[in-house]
Every structure is written in structure tokens, then in C-alpha cells.
């Protein structure tokens, strides 16, 4: 009963905006839900798999560009952007993972190689014709459910919650299933897991593919709500860092961690922004919070909740 208290409270909190007519509240809730979904996607690789990535913006950007390019250049229905982005993000996750893990890259080396991939994609997007180069891609405004654009923002919020549910479901599956057990065995001791017959490279690559596909879906939601994309937005280092921060602050390798992390990070961001308008203050605080969490509470905020709940 008490174990269910936190998920239950989060569920009620998530449903509140539907009862509200405040656009501000709905927008805030949507941003938080998307952040939580992206943090959860990072958590699948970085938390459950121990694959600390510094470049998850690579998957976000690939998904966003896939959706934007298919509808603006090829006139496909925007809804098809979802499967396309998931496929591209998953394939990229598999390829980056397979090549890096086969070369034996771990820990910091893996973090750096993901960062380099994101940067390489950013430069590519900046110089190719199909991505519109540095001036980016503008998606025409045409609100209609069939067009994946909604006049009522609560629909966008519902979609963000759906993605969050999908990512959280994947995390729960890892936490309880056979594949997840193998993954966590690899995380704790790669050699021992290999000796027990776990296909180490394949397990880690599949995890990064899953994480990449979910992250790419987040990119599609971004394009469909802002209707604009450029290389800096798609592949920014800040995006990668924010995903990591949310998972680490909330509690990496736990199902509820990214949800808590997203709420806390957005609370910090919105409070500081309303108090001090200078850019940089809120992200600087994220950095401080990360240092405090890593130093004092390595399990993340979820540890506090778990201790008292």
C-alpha cells in the first residue's frame, strides 16, 4: 500500500492539467512530461545499462529531422514520422552501440564517442541541403488531428504522457524481465556476465537501440509542437546534458527516478527564471544540483522518497 503512494501521487499530478483551462499549466505540464520521457529514455541506457551517454541529442535530432524531412520534403502524413523516427533512432542506437561496444569502449570513452557522434550529426545537418542547412526546416502551421497539430494543447500533453508511459513501461520491463536482468548483470560485471553466457555486445547494443528509438520519438513531439527545427536545436549538447541530469538527479537505474528528476529540474528552472531573468542561472543551478547529488546522494532523489515512503 505504502509502496504505491508515490506512483499514485504522480499519477494524480499528471492528470490534473486535463481539468484545467490554464494554457500556462498545460504547457508547463507538457514540457515536464516530455523532459521526463527523454530522461527515462536516457535512463534505459545510462541507468539500467550503465551506458553513460553524453550525446543522446544525436537520437533526438535524428528523430526530429526524420519527421520534419518526411513531411516537408516528401509530403508524407506527419503521423508516419513516429514509426520513421523510431526506426532511425533505433538503427542509430544499434550502429553506434555495436561499433563502440565491439571496439571495447566503456565508461568515459563511450561517453566521449557519443558526444562526438552528436557533434558530427550537427555539422552534417548544418551543411546538407536536405536538412535546410543552418537556416533549418519550417513546418507549415495547419492544425488538424490528421495533420498531427492540435489547437487544444491538452492533446499534445496527452501525447507527451503517452510517450512517457511507453518509456516508463520499457523501464519497468527492464527492471523485472529476463533481458533487463542480463543487462544489469553486464552493468555490474561484464566479464562475469559473459562467462554466464550473456551476449554482452548484443545486449548493450539492443539497449542503446531501445533508448535511441524512444529518444527519437521525443524529437518528433518537439517538431510537431514547435514546427521548427535547426541543427543547434536538434543536436545541442544542452539537450544531452539535460536528459542525463534528469535521470541522475531523480535516480539513475530506477523506474521513478526520471519522473522525479523532471519535476525537480523544471521546478528549479521555472522558479529561477521568474526570479532572475539572466540567462544561464537556471542551467548553472542544474550543474550544482548534479554535483550535490553525485557527491551526497548517488542514488538520486528517489532514495529520499523510498526511505520515507
Amino acid at each position: 500500500m505504502r509502496r504505491a503512494a508515490v506512483p499514485l501521487a504522480l499519477g494524480v499530478l499528471a492528470l490534473l492539467p486535463f481539468a484545467s483551462s490554464s494554457q500556462f499549466l498545460v504547457t508547463l505540464a507538457t514540457l515536464t512530461a516530455v523532459s521526463a520521457a527523454l530522461g527515462q529514455a536516457w535512463n534505459i541506457a545510462g541507468g539500467f545499462g550503465g551506458l553513460t551517454s553524453f550525446g543522446h541529442a544525436a537520437f533526438f535530432g535524428l528523430g526530429a529531422y526524420a519527421a520534419a524531412i518526411l513531411q516537408t520534403r516528401y509530403g508524407l502524413n506527419p503521423w508516419l514520422g513516429l514509426p520513421a523516427a523510431a526506426a532511425v533512432g533505433g538503427a542509430a542506437g544499434w550502429l553506434i552501440g555495436f561499433s563502440a561496444f565491439r571496439a571495447g569502449l566503456r565508461g568515459s570513452y563511450f561517453a566521449l564517442v557519443t558526444l562526438a557522434f552528436a557533434e558530427a550529426f550537427r555539422v552534417l545537418a548544418n551543411s546538407l541541403d536536405i536538412t535546410g542547412g543552418g537556416s533549418g526546416i519550417l513546418v507549415a502551421l495547419h492544425p488538424a488531428p490528421g495533420n498531427f497539430q492540435f489547437a487544444d494543447r491538452r492533446v499534445s500533453y496527452a501525447l507527451a504522457l503517452l510517450l512517457l508511459g511507453l518509456a516508463t513501461g520499457a523501464a519497468a520491463w527492464l527492471a523485472s524481465g529476463r533481458f533487463g536482468a542480463q543487462l544489469m548483470a553486464v552493468r555490474e560485471n561484464e566479464d562475469a556476465a559473459r562467462a554466464l553466457g550473456v551476449a554482452v555486445v548484443r545486449t548493450k547494443s539492443a539497449t542503446l537501440a531501445l533508448s535511441g528509438a524512444l529518444t527519437a520519438l521525443g524529437g518528433v513531439l518537439y517538431v510537431q509542437s514547435y514546427l521548427y527545427l535547426d541543427p543547434g536545436i536538434a543536436f545541442s549538447a544542452e539537450r544531452s546534458v539535460e536528459m542525463l541530469l534528469i535521470a541522475m538527479i531523480g535516480g539513475a537505474g530506477t523506474i521513478l527516478g526520471p519522473l522525479l528528476g523532471a519535476i525537480v529540474v523544471h521546478a528549479i528552472a521555472d522558479t529561477t527564471r521568474s526570479l532572475i531573468a539572466t540567462p544561464g542561472v537556471a542551467p548553472m543551478l542544474y550543474g550544482v544540483v548534479l554535483l550535490v547529488i553525485v557527491g551526497v546522494l548517488p542514488g538520486g532523489l528517489v532514495r529520499i522518497v523510498a526511505r520515507h515512503a
Binding site: 557522434f117 548534479l290 554535483l291
Partner: protein, 288 residues
């Protein structure tokens, strides 16, 4: 194209000399502490803002500010390890990586807060001066930076090879427990090495500023360049960092020449990925 080739190579070598100094700091920190210092780019950016402040507000030429800023950055690095990175990470790999990332986030955004996102440059009497060397026109500022960077690298090598402190740092890097048995305290040497690695950035910032711009974002681009050099040369290798610095400087210029301004920057991340995937030990590194 060939008429442009030689100047591009020479220009790349000149810039590469300063890159090498940046990478020496990074490779020293890695070699001694066995940590990937993700805050390296952010610290370089902070040092460049320091040099910019001294030049723009006090009129101090970056070359005169060099000893001052080198000493100041040593203190910053030492304190950062002693009071933040060391206590926060408790010696765990992932915690160290995340701690240096946290420090980078704080410094990057702190600079954004203090200086806004604008790019800033300074004017020096030698910024536009050129030196005629045969068919080549060499920018004087870059030539001075190159020579100074190599001199400082030699000085650092001499310090590590010839002084007792240098030997103690290397002893800790090789065999921490053995070093403790002969009375060396590893934590002190770690803070010292982190300080020296950061001090390199103070010097590099003063050498870069006359021909570069500074903005809160430059840290991010330098972090990838520095890691590319260090990985290319072999993590922890001194000669590797020197050769890697020159190679990356040339690669960057040739990329700009042949691929154009927008696609050219892809060379550094691609080189980095290729080295990590194909030869993670680098040119001079021992097997991990």
C-alpha cells in the same frame, strides 16, 4: 588549391602547437589521476575570459598576463580538485566523470550569466602583423603562440622528468601504494597534477586570445578538440599530445580548405570516432 595547401598546413601547425599545450594539461590529468576531465574545455574558456578581462579592462597584454594567469589557473585547478572533484567523486570512475561534467555545466553557464553569449576579441599591436618566410606569410601572433607553447611544453616535461615533485607525481601515477610507502601522499599529488593540468590552460588561453575569440560556447568546441588530440596521441602520453596537437591543427585547416566552412568542422569529431573505434590506444599509447 595547391597554392593554398602549404599555408593551410603551416597555419594548422601553428595553431596545433597551442592545441598541444591544451592537450598536455588534459593528458597529464589523465595520466596521473586516470580521470577523464570533462571540465577541461570549460576551464580553458574561463581562462580565456580571464585573459580578455585583463586585456580589455586593465590593458594588460596577454603575453605579459601569461605568468599571472598560469599561476591563477593553477590555484583554481588545485582548489577545484581539493574541494569539489575529489570529495564529490570519492574515486569512482562514473562519479568523477559526472563531477567534471557538473563543473563544466556550472562554469559554462556561469560565464553565460556574467558575460552573455556574445563573442569577444581583443586588439594587440601584433594581431595583424605578418612575417615573410620565403613564399609564406606567417601571422606573428600565431608564431609567437607556437614558440611559447613549445617552450612551455619543454618546461613542463623538464619539471616532470627532473624535479623531485615531478618524480613524486609520476610515482603516484604508476604505483599509488608504493608511493605511499616512501612517504608521498597521493591525494596531494592528485590535486597538484590537476592544478598543473589546469595551469596549462591559463598559458594556452593567453596564447590563443590574440588570434581567437572567446564566448561561453568555446569551451564545448575545445573539449572535443582536446580529447581528439589526447586519444589520437594515446591517453597519458606526452609526445602523443604534442604530435596529436599538430596533427589535429592541420586536419582542421585542411578540412576547412577541402570541405568548406560548413562541412569542414566534421573532421575533428570523425577523426575522434575513427581513432576510438579503430585504434583506441592511439599513436603512442600503451595497451590499456
Amino acid at each position: 588549391m595547391t597554392a593554398l595547401l602549404l599555408p593551410a598546413i603551416v597555419g594548422g601547425l601553428l595553431t596545433g602547437g597551442v592545441y598541444a599545450l591544451v592537450a598536455l594539461g588534459l593528458t597529464l590529468i589523465y595520466g596521473v589521476l586516470h580521470i577523464v576531465n570533462f571540465a577541461h574545455g570549460a576551464l580553458l574558456m574561463a581562462a580565456m575570459f580571464g585573459a580578455w578581462l585583463l586585456a580589455a579592462k586593465l590593458g594588460l597584454d596577454p603575453l605579459l598576463a601569461l605568468p599571472l594567469l598560469t599561476a591563477a589557473m593553477f590555484a583554481v585547478g588545485w582548489a577545484l580538485y581539493r574541494f569539489v572533484i575529489g570529495p564529490v567523486s570519492r574515486g569512482q570512475d562514473r562519479a568523477i566523470l559526472l563531477a567534471t561534467l557538473g563543473v563544466a555545466v556550472v562554469i559554462d553557464n556561469g560565464a553565460l550569466m556574467l558575460f552573455t553569449g556574445d563573442s569577444r576579441t581583443i586588439e594587440t599591436p601584433y594581431a595583424l602583423a605578418m612575417l615573410q618566410a620565403g613564399p609564406l606569410l606567417l601571422p606573428e601572433a600565431k608564431l609567437i603562440a607556437f614558440v611559447c607553447a613549445l617552450l612551455l611544453a619543454a618546461l613542463l616535461w623538464a619539471f616532470m622528468a627532473l624535479t623531485d615533485t615531478g618524480r613524486a607525481i609520476r610515482a603516484v601515477a604508476r604505483e599509488p601504494e608504493g608511493a605511499m610507502l616512501v612517504g608521498i601522499r597521493p591525494q596531494r599529488m592528485f590535486a597538484l597534477a590537476y592544478g598543473i593540468g589546469t595551469a596549462c590552460l591559463g598559458a594556452a588561453a593567453c596564447l590563443l586570445l590574440p588570434s581567437f575569440y572567446v564566448s561561453p560556447q568555446v569551451g564545448e568546441s575545445f573539449v572535443l578538440i582536446a580529447f581528439t588530440i589526447v586519444v589520437l596521441g594515446g591517453m597519458g602520453s606526452f609526445p602523443g599530445a604534442l604530435v596529436g596537437g599538430l596533427l589535429v591543427g592541420v586536419t582542421e585547416n585542411l578540412g576547412g580548405l577541402y570541405l568548406g566552412e560548413s562541412l569542414g568542422p566534421i573532421c575533428v569529431p570523425l577523426l575522434f570516432i575513427a581513432v576510438l573505434l579503430l585504434r583506441p590506444t592511439g599513436l603512442f599509447g600503451a595497451a590499456r
